[in-house]
C-alpha cells in the first residue's frame, strides 16, 4: 500500500476548557473519499479547519503529502481546495468574477485562468450562468459554485465541509454526481457531514465522531456490520426488566442484550425474526410492551448504537 497523503495523529484542539478535538488520529490514502460523520459540535469542522491550516492545533501532528503542517503550511495550502460550509462567495459579483478572483489568488493568470474557469463552470453545470450575479442563483446553484471555487486551482485534495446543507434533493444529487466524478478522476476528498446517507453513498471510509473523538473508523459496510442484523430497543415496565433479560438473551436471533435508559437494547443477527421472538416471549410471560423500536443496519443506527444519541441531536 502506498503511503497516505494525509496522516493525522493524536490531534487536540481546545476552546477554553472545552476539548473540541480530543486525540483524533486517522490516515487518508490518495484517491480516497474519507468521511467525518457526526452531529453538530462533534469536532468535524475543527478537524477540517486544522487540516486546512486555518487553525493551530494544541497538540498532535498532521502530515499532508509528506509536509508537516506545523512547519510547511505554505507548501500545503496550494494542494488543498477548501469548500467551506458557508457559501463563501461574493454575491454581487458574477460566477465568472468570483472564480477569476479565487483563481488569481492561487496564481492563475491569462489563458490558463480562463480555461480553468470554463472547466469548473462546465463541471458544475453553470457555464450558461457565468455572467450572472451570484445573488440571483438558487441555493443549489450557489452550493455548486461554492464547490467550483474550491476546485479552481486544480487541488490534489478537496476538503468539503457539509457541502449539502440547505440544498434541495435535486441539487444534492447533482453535487453527489460531481463528487463521484472527481473521485473517478483520482482526487482525494475529505468530506464532513451529519447526513449518514451521504457518508454511506460517497465515502470509501468513514470516521464516526462525537464530542471531539473518533468512535469508529472503517468502510461504511464494516461499520454497519457492527450492528449485525440490527438493533431493537424494547421498553417494558421496569419491574420486569431483570426477570426478562436472561430469557431474551436465550432467543435464537439475539446476539447481545443490555439495559439502556430504562429500556432493553437487543443486538440481533436478524432483526425481524428477533422481533417476532420477542413479542411471543412477552406474550407468554404476560409482560406488557410499552414500545418497540427497530434500528435497521445503517450508519445512523451505528451512531445510535455507539453513543445512545441520534446524529441530528
Amino acid at each position: 500500500m502506498s503511503s497516505p497523503i494525509i496522516e493525522v495523529s493524536e490531534l487536540v484542539k481546545k476552546y477554553g476548557d472545552r476539548l473540541a478535538v480530543n486525540g483524533v488520529s486517522f490516515q487518508i490514502q490518495e484517491g480516497e473519499i474519507f468521511g467525518l460523520l457526526g452531529p453538530n459540535g462533534a469536532g468535524k469542522t475543527t478537524t477540517l479547519s486544522i487540516l486546512s491550516t486555518l487553525l493551530q492545533p494544541d497538540a498532535g501532528k498532521v502530515q499532508i503529502n509528506g509536509y508537516d503542517l506545523a512547519q510547511d503550511a505554505e507548501r500545503i495550502k496550494p494542494l488543498i481546495g477548501l469548500v467551506p460550509q458557508e457559501l463563501a462567495l461574493y454575491p454581487t459579483l458574477s460566477a465568472w468574477d468570483n472564480l477569476a478572483f479565487f483563481g488569481r489568488i492561487y496564481g492563475l493568470r491569462g489563458r490558463r485562468l480562463r480555461e480553468q474557469i470554463d472547466f469548473v463552470l462546465e463541471l458544475v453545470g453553470l457555464r450558461d450562468r457565468a455572467g450572472d450575479a451570484v445573488e440571483t442563483f438558487s441555493g443549489g446553484m450557489k452550493r455548486r459554485l461554492n464547490l467550483a471555487a474550491g476546485l479552481i486551482h486544480q487541488p490534489r485534495l478537496l476538503f468539503l465541509d457539509e457541502p449539502t446543507v440547505g440544498v434541495d434533493p435535486q441539487s444534492r444529487n447533482f453535487i453527489f454526481e460531481h463528487i463521484e466524478r472527481l473521485k473517478a478522476a483520482g482526487m482525494t476528498i475529505l468530506y464532513t457531514t451529519h447526513y449518514m446517507e451521504e457518508a454511506e453513498r460517497l465515502c470509501d471510509r468513514v470516521a464516526i465522531m462525537d464530542e471531539g473523538r473518533i468512535l469508529a473508523l472503517d468502510t461504511p459496510q464494516k461499520l454497519i456490520g457492527l450492528l449485525g442484523g440490527g438493533v431493537i430497543h424494547l421498553a417494558i415496565p421496569s419491574d420486569f426488566i431483570s426477570m426478562l433479560l436472561p430469557a431474551i438473551r436465550a432467543l435464537p436471533h439475539v446476539q447481545a442484550v443490555s439495559p439502556l435508559d430504562g429500556r432493553i437494547k437487543i443486538e440481533t443477527t436478524e432483526a425481524r425474526s428477533a422481533l417476532l421472538e420477542l413479542i411471543q416471549l412477552c406474550h407468554a410471560r404476560d409482560v406488557p410492551i410499552l414500545s418497540l423500536e427497530i434500528l435497521e443496519p445503517s450508519l445512523e443506527s451505528v451512531f445510535l448504537h455507539l453513543t445512545g444519541k441520534h446524529l441530528r441531536d
Binding site: 479547519s49 486546512s52 491550516t53 486555518l54 505554505e74 495550502k77 496550494p78 488543498i80 477548501l82 467551506p84 460550509q85 458557508e86 457559501l87 463563501a88 462567495l89 461574493y90 454575491p91 454581487t92 459579483l93 468574477d97 478572483f101 479565487f102 488569481r104 489568488i105 492561487y106 496564481g107 493568470r109 450575479a133 471555487a149
Partner: protein, 416 residues
C-alpha cells in the same frame, strides 16, 4: 504577493462600484452637500449675494428717514423694500408679511423722525421700531442694528450742522452780515460734509487684507469655504463601507477561504484596505476637481501641497475604517457606532460649523479629530493660499492619526 494584493483590490473595487448605495454615499452625498450648502450660504461669503431683505415703513414727515433708507439700500448686504405689490408699506402690512414668513425684518420710522434729528436746543427724542421675527438670529439682527445706528448718527450730524453754524455765529459774530453768514455756512458745509459723510475723498476708509504670509489675491468664494468641510465629511464615510465589507467577509466565510489560500494574513489585509484608500483618493479628486471645473473654485497655489494633504487625509480616513473594523463585531455595532462617530467627529472637526465661532474648549476638543487637521490643511491651501511647507505639520498629524488607527485596528483585527 503583489498580484494577490491587486486581485483582492480589484475584487473590492468591483463590489463597490456594483453597489449604487455605496457610490451615492461616497460620491453623491458630499457633492450634494457642497452644492446645496454653498448656494444656501453664498451670502455669508460673497458680497451682494444673499443680501438681507428689510421692510421699511416710512412715516417720517421730513426727508431724513428716506436719506437713511437710501444709504442702507446702497450697501451690498441689504435690500430695503418700502413698497409691497405696488403699495407703500404700512406697519400692519409689514407685521403681516413677517407673520406669514415672507420677510423677517422691518424698520418703522416715526412721523417726527426728521424734526427730532434737526432740533438743536430742545432735547426731544424719538424711536425707530425694529420688528424682527424671533427666529432671526442675533448674528443677523445685531449687525443691522449697528449699521442703522451708525447711519443715524451721521444723519444727525448732517441734519443739525446748518442750525449749529447759525447758533455759533449768533453767539460769536452777531455783527456778521446776512451775505457773509450765508457764504461762510456754504463753505463750512462743503468742507465738513466732504470729509465726514462720504464725499468724493473720504478721510477714513476700511480695507480688507489677509494676514502677512497668506497669499490671497482674490477672496474665497462660497465653494472654497464649503468644499473642504463637506469633502472631509464625505471622505470619512469610507469607514462605514470598509467596516461593512469586513463584517460581510467574516459572516459569509470568504475570509476562511482566503486564509486557506497560499498567502499571508498581511497580504489579505493589504488587499482588503488598499481599495478603500484608492476610493478615498478618487473621492478627493472628484470633489476638488468637480468644484474647480463646475464652480470655478480655485485650488490654491500648491499642487504638491494638495497631493500630500490628500494622501495623508485618505490614510487617516481609511485608518479609522480599519480601527472600527478591528473593534466592531456585529452589523448593528457598525451601523450605530459609525454614524454616531462620523457625525460627532465631523461636527467637532468643523465640517458643519466653522471652528472659529466655537468656544475655545470646543475648538481644542476638535483637535482630537483628524477632521479638524484635514480641514485646516485644505483651508490653508484653498482659502489662505499657503504652500506645502505650511501644511506639512498638519499632514504629519494626519499621518500620525493614520498610524495609530491602523496599529490598533490591525492588532484587534479578527478574520472570524
Amino acid at each position: 504577493m503583489l498580484q494577490q494584493i491587486l486581485a483582492l483590490t480589484w475584487k473590492d473595487l468591483k463590489i463597490f462600484f456594483k453597489d449604487p448605495g455605496a457610490v451615492v454615499l461616497i460620491f453623491l452625498q458630499p457633492f450634494m452637500f457642497i452644492v446645496v450648502m454653498s448656494y444656501a450660504l453664498g451670502g455669508l461669503f460673497e458680497p451682494g449675494k444673499g443680501a438681507i431683505h428689510i421692510l421699511a415703513v416710512n412715516q417720517d414727515r421730513g426727508s431724513q428717514a428716506a436719506a437713511i433708507l437710501q444709504q442702507l439700500d446702497a450697501l451690498d448686504a441689504f435690500v430695503v423694500e418700502t413698497r409691497w405689490e405696488g403699495q407703500p408699506l404700512t406697519r400692519e402690512m409689514a407685521e403681516r408679511l413677517i407673520v406669514e414668513g415672507k420677510r423677517n425684518l422691518a424698520l418703522i420710522f416715526p412721523p417726527d423722525f426728521s424734526e427730532v434729528l434737526e432740533q438743536i436746543a430742545e432735547r426731544h427724542s424719538t424711536r425707530i421700531v425694529f420688528l424682527a421675527d424671533p427666529t432671526a438670529s442675533a448674528q443677523v439682527v445685531e449687525p443691522i442694528q449697528g449699521t442703522l445706528q451708525g447711519l443715524i448718527e451721521r444723519r444727525v450730524f448732517i441734519a443739525r450742522m446748518p442750525k449749529g453754524i447759525d447758533f455759533l455765529l449768533d453767539t460769536l459774530a452777531p455783527q456778521m452780515s446776512r451775505e457773509q453768514r450765508e457764504a461762510f455756512k456754504a463753505q463750512a458745509e462743503q468742507a465738513i460734509s466732504g470729509g465726514l459723510v462720504g464725499g468724493d475723498s473720504p478721510v477714513v476708509t476700511v480695507e480688507r487684507e489677509a494676514p502677512t504670509g497668506m497669499r490671497v489675491e482674490k477672496y474665497p468664494n462660497t465653494f472654497q469655504q464649503n468644499v473642504p468641510g463637506y469633502t472631509i465629511y464625505g471622505l470619512f464615510w469610507i469607514v462605514s463601507l470598509l467596516t461593512s465589507s469586513v463584517l460581510r467577509e467574516r459572516r459569509e466565510g470568504t475570509f476562511r477561504r482566503l486564509l486557506a489560500a497560499p498567502m499571508r494574513r498581511a497580504t489579505i489585509l493589504a488587499g482588503k484596505f488598499l481599495p478603500y484608500y484608492l476610493i478615498n483618493l478618487v473621492q478627493l479628486l472628484i470633489m476638488l476637481g468637480a468644484s474647480s471645473l463646475l464652480f470655478k473654485m480655485s485650488l490654491g497655489y500648491s499642487s504638491l501641497g494638495l497631493v500630500v494633504v490628500s494622501l495623508a487625509a485618505a490614510a487617516a480616513s481609511t485608518g479609522l475604517g480599519v480601527l472600527i473594523a478591528g473593534l466592531a463585531r456585529t452589523d448593528s455595532q457598525v451601523g450605530g457606532l459609525t454614524v454616531l462617530l462620523l457625525l460627532t467627529m465631523s461636527a467637532l472637526g468643523g465640517c458643519f460649523v466653522p471652528r472659529f465661532i466655537m468656544p475655545d474648549w470646543l475648538k481644542t476638543l476638535g483637535l482630537i479629530t483628524p477632521h479638524a487637521w484635514a480641514l485646516d490643511a485644505y483651508q490653508d491651501l484653498l482659502v489662505r493660499g499657503y504652500g506645502l511647507r505650511e501644511v506639512l505639520p498638519k499632514a504629519g498629524a494626519l499621518l500620525m492619526f493614520a498610524a495609530a488607527f491602523f496599529g490598533i485596528g490591525i492588532s484587534r483585527f479578527r478574520f472570524d
